[in-house]
Symmetry: C2
Subunit: 455 residues, 2 copies
């Protein structure tokens, strides 16, 4: 251990700093399989804000890069190691500090797993909506850092919509509290929303005050099977324009249906071109809601419309949707895209992707949170085949170009990380990019916080 | 006209720049009656983004302060003139550029009046929730600049929650587009939320993409009359903890009831200590919702609970609530406070204010958006009485101190402006204040954008 690392170790309780090869290696990557990662100095797993402060004071003194990490389930390489960095894992700061039913807030440490919080608040009749696919593993801190989305967003919004205030340790080790506990507040600039989604490049979140809602009624589920994908997309636009408010609206294309069915027999219609899954959670109104959604699907060409008879059948459909990630991983190396377009442009996105697939000859599997226009076209290629990898990258880039041309974004919920860093400037334009770089310098003048990510 | 003003006039169409005394005087103040205003150079009322750019390029060149203005209905002096400034009124940029039913967004210029937008989207079955009391007059640009609240917030959130993206002219005349049109997007830092609520100190909003929702069902209204204010506050906390989701939850204290009744006979119970007005807009569920809210009020000591029989009776109750502003103005000079506290601390806020009232001997009228813990204790004093004015200021400051001590904020929705500038640092703390000052310098290095406001 170098002298500077010994200095750090001396400031932390036994076991917080780990430098052995096996542990360090285990923390090098998040879940973006194709993104590069550097060689870190070690891993710190603090249990208090004061320890995080000590780490950042030390990092500032020695100009050592720090990479904040949650459960490393991210898909853009934002939590990947960089050379010579200290990995700062927040997973041991995992306490739910308060759940308040009157103010409908929870105060949590960053290492709390999303599902643990969701269950804890459900126990008192409350609801924390953000539900990224990783929710059984991912931490609130990681969800905040990436402004994670999920299946609920179409009705309830994203992680940022449920954040009232933060405790953040800055690059120099100072602590700042942003936002508030109250339902409303407009004192000064919104630093909370600036830090949320900044992927660990502006500060380290050590506590969050989250807004909760009363628990909704159990949802009813509808599934519609289409012979033509364009019909499914038209149905989506008609459902959304109808005034119905689905609490979930997911899409699986044929390749997704086949991948899931090959991974586990869920009885999915593998010859269909597309399947829509929608829900309503409006209690006594849910049955008429899903019937109305089904009627729209039938009107616009669905070959089959089925309403789940009970909670078990609903859960099965959702489980199928949630399996698409691991199912597609079985097919080869994946480049998971995360574009979002205005809903009215979904058909154009689809037609454009068909052309890209034809031009590059790659396999694209395309599930998506279609109610939000947020799709995950996933380019799959054979491991170790360099030509295939190059064509995959070409298709991946072409899909982002297409999304921007359609008035969309390169990332709806996964973030920029290292995966899309080269594309960020393209989306933002020079003026916005310049402002963002200057904001980064305000928060992190030495550039030690997660360098090489986002900007 | 000075040479530099002639230079500006030459760059703008006839009539955009006005320097006559009467017009200039008419634009000097917003609606914070007690805040000072300086002597401006003139008023520009541009009709295009290009004209706003020309104004800011000129202002940068000549180091002239610029004060952006909407309808000047604000209550914190944020739109008040400063000496030697150009007043930049956006009211003539008043076009609704698009309303999209599939994407549920509206694209508007900043001068669109809130009520005009609300009605335009209602015509196609959509809903723009933010409804500050000034909604019949105030502009979307002003609502965005102050992150305006309103009566709907308890269920639907504030202005910021309905902003997807902005076009902003920066201090140097450059245009930047922030955010997006899509439902989700996480590319880069959230500049949209940074500009919203910044009260014209970071840039001039020239276009906004706003999120809409399907129109809710017409609301049912309940009113409960209490002999003891603490009972009303307990009922609020029980209703909110019950899982009910009122779409409105307003409070009027005895002084408010009497002021309104003196202003216009609305048949209000002037001997009651407090009245709660709540709504539910859940269609077929609304009747049981308001009945449940009423039952809670009765359980916690309401002397009378009434459910409005029809829309006219509901509208009457809401109208009474909306009259409190003008009614209180009749009583004397007002200092309108805007504190928010956690709901569980409302009783402590009330008891603390009673002590402040007793200590200072001032009249405090206290209506509020109680479901959000956001109260408007309004200190009233006699015009021209300096001793009374000093005691009023003392009470006003003591209320802010109290809100902070209770874990609340000095401003729930009215903003900082000049009215609360001296208090902002107290709420934010030095570290946050310092970051915000540096962010201001990134956007406005010469300090020409609404100087002397907020920070």
């Amino acid at each position: 251990m170098t002298a500077s690392m010994q200095e750090l170790a001396a400031q932390l309780p036994e076991g917080v700093l780990v430098t052995d090869e096996a542990t360090t290696e285990a923390y090098r990557f998040d879940s973006a399989s194709s993104c590069p990662a550097g060689r870190p100095l070690g891993v710190v797993r603090p249990t208090t804000t004061e320890q995080v402060q000590a780490v950042l004071r030390w990092a500032t003194r020695h100009r050592v890069p720090v990479v904040p990490q949650g459960a490393r389930t991210g898909l853009s390489g934002a939590a990947n190691a960089v050379d010579g960095a200290l990995l700062l894992s927040l997973v041991r700061m995992d306490r739910i500090l308060a759940v308040d039913e009157v103010d409908q807030v929870a105060v949590v440490q960053p290492g709390v797993v999303n599902a643990d919080l969701s269950r804890a608040v459900a126990d008192v009749g409350l609801f924390y909506p953000p539900d990224p696919s990783s929710w059984e593993m991912s931490t609130i801190g990681g969800n905040l850092a990436t402004n994670a989305g999920g299946l609920c967003c179409v009705k309830y919004g994203v992680t940022a919509d449920f954040v009232r205030g933060l405790e953040v340790v800055l690059a120099d080790g100072e602590v700042v509290r942003t936002g508030r506990r109250t339902a409303k507040g407009v004192a000064g600039y919104d630093l909370t929303r600036l830090v949320v989604g900044s992927e660990g490049t502006l500060g380290v979140i050590t506590e969050a005050t989250l807004a909760l809602r009363p628990a909704p009624e159990p949802a009813l589920t509808m599934a519609a099977v289409f012979d033509r994908t364009t019909d499914a997309m038209t149905a989506v636009t008609r459902i959304m324009a109808s005034g119905l408010r689905p609490s979930l609206m997911e899409f699986l294309d044929r390749a997704s249906l086949r991948a899931i069915q090959a991974y586990r027999d869920m009885g999915l219609p593998v010859d269909a071109e597309a399947m829509l899954i929608t829900q309503s959670d409006r209690g006594p109104l849910a049955a008429s809601d899903v019937a109305a959604m089904g009627a729209i699907c039938a009107e616009f060409g669905a070959a089959e419309v089925a309403v789940a008879e009970d909670a078990a059948e609903s859960a099965m459909l959702l489980q199928a949707r949630r399996l698409v990630g691991p199912a597609v991983e079985e097919l080869g190396v994946t480049l998971v895209d995360d574009v979002a377009v205005p809903r009215a442009r979904l058909v154009d996105l689809l037609l454009g992707m068909e052309k890209i697939t034809a031009d590059t000859g790659v396999l694209v599997v395309c599930p998506g949170h279609i109610g939000d226009g947020n799709m995950h076209p996933t380019v799959v290629f054979e491991r170790g085949n360099e030509g295939a990898a190059a064509r995959a990258q070409e298709a991946f880039d072409a899909i982002m170009r297409l999304a921007l041309d359609l008035g969309g974004t390169i990332t709806g919920e996964h973030g920029v990380g290292v995966l899309k860093r080269a594309w960020l400037r393209e989306e933002l334009g020079e003026t916005s990019y310049g402002l963002q770089r200057q904001i980064k310098e305000v928060f992190d003048p030495l550039g030690i916080l997660n360098p090489g990510k986002v900007l």
